[in-house]
């Protein structure tokens, strides 16, 4: 039986969530987390971190940047074709 502690369990999280752990390791991690409030709390925040940062850094394309891109590409692609 594989023994998982908090410190080793943390290092398995990514592989666990991606489904690439061995069955034995997968089951050992689940058993540890089920009986460890600290790891359950840690897993919750580990899983939420990408969503929080994704929402916080979502940028819409400004219309002036879009317009500048069009002007830039028109000029540069025309020059590229001439060469």
């Amino acid at each position: 039986m594989i023994e998982v502690r908090c410190i080793s369990g943390v290092e398995l999280l990514m592989d666990y969530l991606e489904g690439v752990l061995s069955v034995e390791m997968h089951d050992a991690l689940e058993e540890h987390v089920a009986g460890c409030d600290k790891c359950a709390a840690f897993v919750a925040s580990y899983c939420e971190t990408p969503r929080i940062l994704r929402d916080a850094t979502a940028s819409a394309l400004p219309s002036d940047v879009e317009q500048s891109l069009k002007v830039f590409l028109r000029a540069r692609t025309t020059a590229f074709r001439r060469h």
Partner: protein, 214 residues
């Protein structure tokens, strides 16, 4: 816990839009000199590439990265052979453009994020309490939105390049691990290792941010 992909892959919808043409069909037409096809490609992806560029560089640098990316795409249309998905190819170009832009610009002061990694006692048990460990999961509820947005950009910019690229593509752009691996030219296991490391640091950063502001 349930083992499943953490995040969905939303890139399938990028392949076609109102034009009804696939990326590959548009690339073939653009490579043959059809400027309207290239314009459709730009319109289809410009918002995503801008968002990616903001996350990999900064709001100030993103317009330049956006322009450089599509110029490179135009110049290399004929070299796209369809061996990878167009989106993967495009994201590789954009990621490289962002990296080059960062290297060409002023180097940011290196700030270690190691302090935000989880801490353990002598028995290998979390040093923090469950309440302290969970608080990062509520950072968006507990913090002002503008402050969180500003701090998020700052801390992502402080990640080492290798971690930031993998984290942004995998977790913020929601690409699959396999696609990120193809985009970066590394093994999926390497992507998982880099993303994991970034998540640990960023989770700890959010936790610290909430504690400081509370």
């Amino acid at each position: 816990m349930v083992a499943k992909p953490l995040l969905p892959d939303d890139h399938a919808d990028a392949k076609e839009d109102a034009s009804g043409r696939s990326d590959e069909a548009l690339v073939a037409r653009a490579a043959a000199g059809d400027d309207s096809a290239f314009e459709t490609i730009v319109n289809r992806y410009q918002a995503r590439i801008y968002r990616l560029a903001c996350r990999l560089t900064s709001d100030a640098d993103a317009p330049d990265v956006l322009q450089e990316t599509f110029l490179q795409v135009y110049r290399h249309l004929k070299s796209f052979r369809g061996e990878s998905q167009f989106g993967t190819w495009l994201y590789r170009i954009a990621s490289n453009a962002a990296l080059m832009h960062r290297r060409a610009g002023t180097r940011r002061a290196a700030a270690s994020l190691e302090a935000f990694l989880p801490r353990f006692d002598d028995h290998g048990t979390h040093a923090a309490t469950p309440v302290e460990l969970q608080v990062a999961a509520r950072a968006d509820e507990l913090l002002d939105r503008q402050l969180l947005a500003q701090k998020a950009r700052e801390v992502i910019a402080q990640l080492p390049d290798l971690y930031r690229e993998a984290f942004v593509l995998r977790d913020l752009e929601e690409m699959s691990t396999a696609d990120v691996a193809r985009t970066l030219g590394v093994e999926p296991a390497t992507v998982r290792q880099r993303v994991h490391r970034a998540r640990l640091m960023l989770r700890g950063f959010l936790s610290n941010l909430v504690e400081v502001k509370s």
